[in-house]
Subunit: 409 residues, 2 copies
C-alpha cells in the first residue's frame, strides 16, 4: 500500500450508500487536424449531456505523465492501487491467462507458451514455429494435455490452453509452487531452449517440476515438422493485493463481460458476477444485484475495441449505445456515479495511449456541480475536479459516498 | 519536515514585507441541484470582486484528495506542515483542551475524560454515566479539583476542566511527563476501568503518577449514584513542531477569536494576540500590531459555524461582513494577502468536507493577475494558481513577499 491508500484505508467506514464506477474502456480520444473531434464530442449523447450539467468533470492520469498503461495497471489505478508499485505487478503469464478467460487461483502459476521449431540437433530455427494457424495450435495443445495426463506427473496439475497462432498458456497447480522462474525462451536462434531456472532459492523445487513437465511436452511433439518445441515465458502468480473489502469497507461486485477485467477485479477481491458483454446486457444484471453490493464496477469493452480497430464511427456508436442505457443506470439511484476509463485509446493511434482520461462524477447530495455542459475530453480538462492521478479516484468516490471518516479533529 | 518544507526553510530569508493570511473557516461550499449557488457566489461582495480582478485565484487541497480534514490538520497544512505526517498529529486530549480554550504548554499532557458508572463490584455499567447534564459535570469537576488539592500529589500538577455532558479534560503538568499512555477506558461494559499503562518504557513513571491521581479522583466520587468512575483517553502533548519563525524567518502573529485556532497557531510558534471574535473586532487589533509582525494569521470562525448549522443565509451574511471589512485590511497595505480556508464546510452537508477550498492571492508587486472576476469556488477552479496541496501555500506567500532566495544559480 502506498501512503494514499494507507490513509484511505485508515479512514474508510461502512455506510448505506452505493457507488457505481462505469469504465468505458479506452474512451479517451484525440483531437487532431485529421480528426477534429473526439468520439465523445462527435457522439450524440443527450443523457450524458444532461448528466454533465448536474455533475463535476475532471481527468485522471492512469499511471504517470506520458506513460501508456496496459489494461491491468489502468484498472488497478482506478481501484486505488499504485499501478507502478511492484506489489501490483500482474505478471505476463497471469495476464495472458486472464485474457483467455481462464480462472487463475491465488496459488496457481501461469506461463505464456510459444510453439517453436528446432532442427535435428535441437537448435531453435524459428521461435514462433512459422506462426502456425490457431486451429493447429488447438490440435497441438490437446496433444500436450493428453501427454500430461498419460505421464501422470505426481505433484503438478497442468492445463495447457491454446491461444492465437503459436501462443498458448500453461496453468500449473500444486503445493508449494513458486513463480520465480526464468523464461525458457533463449530469445535467439541456433541454441536449444533453456532449462527452467529458479531465480530464487525458494523456486528450485518448482524449476525441477517444470523441467520434468517440459520433457513430457517436448516428447509429445518431437515428431512434428514445425511445432516441435515449447518455450515458456512470464511465469507468474496473481499479485497478492489487499482486497477492496479490507481496504475500503465496501462489498464490491464486478460486472464485466470480458475475462481480463474479471480477472483483475477478482484479484482485487471483488466478486465477479457473470453477465453479458454489451451495456444493455450488463445493466439488468447490475439491477438484480443492487442489494448485494455497495460498489459496482461496470466495464464496457467495445469503446476500446473499436478504437483499436481505428474505427472512429464504431466508437461513436458504442458511446451512443451507453448513452441510451444511462437512464436505466440512473434509475437505480446510485449515491455516486463515476464514468471514466482505464486509459485512452485514440482511434487514430489504434492503440492505448498516455493521454489523461475524462472523468464525470455525479453525486446528487455531495458533488459540486461545475460548469461542464457535456462529457468529453475538452470539457473534462476544464472541470472542477481537476486532473488527478487515477489512483486518487477511489478516495473521491468513497468521500462522496460518505464513507471516509474525518481526518483529525 | 517533509521535502517541500525543508526546501522552503533552506531558501527562506527575512525581508521588510508583510503577509496576511485571512482564513475564512469552512468557506468553501457546494453547488448542487438543491443549492445552485455557493455562499461565496450568493453573497454580495463588491470588495472581494474588485480584489479578485487584481489578484490570482486557485484552490487548495487541505490533506489529500477525498480526505475531510479536522480543523487542526486543515490549519497545519495552511502553515506549511504536512498534516498527514505523524509528527504533526495533534492528540485528542490536546485538541479537546484547545477546544475548551485552555492554554496547553509544550510540557503539559492532556487527556479527555468521561464520567462513567460502575456497579458495587466496580464493573462498568455505563461508560457515559447516563450522559449527565453539563451543570452536574461542572459540580463533579469542582469536587475532583478539591480532592486533588487536598491530596497534595507531590509531583503532579492537575487541573480538571468540565466539558459538555459527561466529558471533561485533565491537564497534567510536572517534570518529565510522557504522554505515551494507553486509554483507561476499556471500551466495554462489565469490566472495571483499566489502570494507566505505559505504551513505552519512558512513560512508566508517568503511568504510576496517573494511577495515583486516578485513585484520588475515583475516591472523590465513589459515593455518587451515577458518575462514580473516571475514564481517561487520548493522553497527548502538543506536537513538537518546528516554529514558523525558524522555518520561514517570519515573526508571526495569530489573530483568532476561538481557542482551537489559537492553540494550533501557538503550537506552530506564532504569537497569539488576544482579540475579539468577529472580523470587525479582529482587524483593529491587527492594525495595532502592524509593526510587530510580518506574518498575520487572521481567523474568521463564523463562516464555518453557520455552515455547520446548515444556515446558508447566515454564511452569506458572514461573507458580506468580511467583505465590508476588506478595505480596512487593504488599507494596511499588506505586500501579500491570501484569502482561503482550512477546509470546506458545505451548508447542505452541515459538516467539514474534502472539497478543495478557494484561494485568492493578492500581491500588488509580484502577483500574476488572472482572468478571475469574483472570488468563489468555480472561478477559483479556473484560476491561474491552479489546484495545489494546501501545504504549498506557504511557499507561495513567502515567494510573493520576496522572502525566498533563488534556488541554484
Amino acid at each position: 500500500m502506498d501512503d494514499h491508500q494507507t490513509l484511505l484505508s485508515r479512514l474508510a467506514q461502512p455506510a448505506a450508500t452505493r457507488i457505481v464506477l462505469l469504465v468505458l474502456d479506452g474512451v479517451g480520444d484525440l483531437r487532431t487536424a485529421a480528426q477534429p473531434r473526439t468520439a465523445l464530442e462527435q457522439a450524440a449523447t443527450p443523457h450524458f449531456d444532461a448528466l454533465a450539467r448536474r455533475s463535476s468533470l475532471g481527468r485522471l492520469v492512469p499511471v504517470a505523465t506520458g506513460v501508456t498503461p496496459g489494461s491491468g495497471p489502468g484498472h488497478l489505478a482506478l481501484f486505488g492501487y499504485d499501478p507502478a508499485s511492484p506489489a501490483a505487478d500482474i505478471g505476463r503469464g497471469v495476464l495472458e491467462a486472464l485474457g483467455l478467460g481462464l480462472e487463475v487461483t491465488p496459488q496457481a502459476v501461469a506461463a505464456r507458451g510459444n510453439f517453436a521449431t528446432a532442427d535435428a540437433a535441437g537448435r531453435l530455427t524459428d521461435r514462433r514455429a512459422g506462426r502456425i494457424p490457431t486451429a493447429e495450435c488447438e490440435r497441438l495443445c490437446a496433444r500436450l494435455n493428453a501427454a500430461v495426463a498419460a505421464a501422470g506427473l505426481p505433484d503438478l496439475g497442468v492445463a495447457v490452453h491454446p491461444g492465437e497462432g503459436h501462443r498458448f498458456v500453461v496453468l500449473l497447480s500444486g503445493n508449494d509452487l513458486h513463480p520465480a522462474l526464468a523464461d525458457t525462451d533463449p530469445q535467439q536462434l541456433g541454441v536449444p531452449p533453456l532449462a527452467a531456472r529458479a531465480l530464487e532459492g525458494a523456486a528450485a523445487a518448482t524449476a525441477a517440476r517444470v523441467d520434468r513437465l517440459i520433457a513430457v511436452l517436448q516428447a509429445a511433439i518431437a515428431g512434428e515438422p514445425r511445432a516441435n518445441r515449447v518455450l515458456l515465458r512470464g511465469f507468474s502468480r496473481l499479485p497478492h493485493l489487499p482486497s477492496v473489502a479490507d481496504l475500503y469497507k465496501v462489498r464490491a461486485g464486478a460486472f464485466a463481460g470480458y475475462p481480463l477485467y474479471r480477472g483483475v477485479a477478482g484479484a482485487c477481491g471483488m466478486r465477479v458476477v457473470p453477465c453479458g458483454r454489451r451495456i444493455g446486457e450488463i445493466l439488468p444484471v447490475v439491477a438484480e444485484h443492487w442489494d448485494d453490493f455497495d460498489f459496482f464496477f461496470v466495464h464496457v469493452k467495445q469503446t476500446d475495441q473499436a478504437a483499436e480497430d481505428g474505427d472512429f464511427a464504431a466508437k461513436v456508436r458504442v458511446i451512443e449505445e451507453v448513452d441510451a442505457a444511462l437512464p436505466a443506470l440512473l434509475d437505480l439511484g446510485p449515491d455516486v456515479l463515476a464514468v471514466s476509463a482505464d486509459h485512452s485509446t485514440p482511434a487514430p493511434m489504434r492503440a492505448h495511449s498516455w493521454h489523461p482520461v475524462p472523468l464525470l462524477l455525479h453525486a446528487p447530495a455531495t458533488g459540486f456541480v461545475d460548469a461542464g455542459e457535456r462529457f468529453h475530453e475538452l470539457e473534462a480538462a476544464r472541470g472542477a475536479l481537476g486532473t488527478l492521478p487515477a489512483r486518487e479516484l477511489m478516495g473521491l468516490l468513497l468521500a462522496h459516498a460518505g464513507r471516509l471518516a474525518k481526518f483529525g479533529a
